[in-house]
Symmetry: C2
Subunit: 153 residues, 2 copies
DNA sequence: TAAATAACCTACCCTGCTGGTAGGATTTAG
DNA sequence: CTAAATCCTACCAGCAGGGTAGGTTATTTA
């Protein structure tokens, strides 16, 4: 698999927050129940989103989380990057100190690193497809096929 | 990391085969020496490529491997797929029996699986970038910056 | 003030996969 | 016959992923 389930859980969490109004906080427990995910593990996941500045939080009773920005302005590349770390198709693409993504292969015997060309394209393809998808799109998609709340209730 | 080193090794192996003439077989040992990779492990890697019909082999002394098709006709999506298995961005995309790639999430409570939209796009981006790169391109790339053999020798 | 709620933090654990080794069996050229 | 090579299977150590446990702190409400 390409992404770990941290990304899956984190994205679902973000979608859930996007479905709520951003005025009042939503508790993790509510999200864990709605999505059937373990609460304690979600705490670790949401911590990454908070440190990346994608969600904000309030402690204490009636506390919780909400989106730091409108869902339209949140690209999924930011979300996945916060959850998974640097998006690199291959080990050699991650530079330890700088966290920048590049190929650290030595140019062995003057030859170009052939795989570098391939992984660079793959990385581009991934980031592009993530970047062109906003959280708002996913929220909208999750609403489709849902029973209209006013009429049914 | 997104792809394991099996993909890295396998791609380098394919490039190395592409650099050789397809008339005579190249031994794994030669490739292992040239790329500095463990021979025994390369055997397992090349077995996948052989089972996928991408390379052919001859046993015995002066045996070895060669490309089953010209490098121009080998898309890197085939190569990576043979090495890594089905290219799925997320666990739920792999269907055990059929090996087909799709989302197996239950349509919980009538809602669309929001993450499915995202992972489908990512998968498309990956496969597209792999598919539009041929082995021949990588071989060509690996030759650039190389000392011209005729003049230098 | 006390209690309940919920974020926040850290350490730990278990399982499975990855990368790699070992040791052989089989095939073929010289 | 011997050397070179593919082929096959079992095994192993390390490590990251997914998850649990058990707390501490902050905030609201009764």
């Amino acid at each position: 698999m390409i992404f770990s389930s941290k990304a899956e859980y984190g994205v679902r969490l973000m979608v859930e927050l996007g479905r709520q109004s951003a005025d009042q906080p939503t508790s993790l427990k509510a999200i864990a129940d709605a999505e059937g995910l373990p609460l304690a593990y979600l705490e670790q996941v949401v911590a990454r989103l908070r440190k990346a500045g994608l969600v904000m939080s309030a402690r204490g009773a009636h506390g919780g989380y909400w989106l730091a920005r409108p869902a339209e302005e949140i690209g999924m590349d930011e979300v996945v990057q916060a959850l998974e770390g640097a998006i690199a198709p291959m080990e050699c693409f991650v530079h330890e100190q700088t966290e920048r993504v590049l190929c650290s292969h030595l140019p062995d015997a003057g030859r170009g690193c052939a795989t570098k060309l391939l992984w660079t394209r793959v990385q581009g393809g991934i980031i592009r497809s993530l970047h062109t998808t906003t959280l708002a799109e996913l929220v909208e998609f999750s609403r489709r096929g849902e029973p209209v709340p006013t009429a049914a209730a």
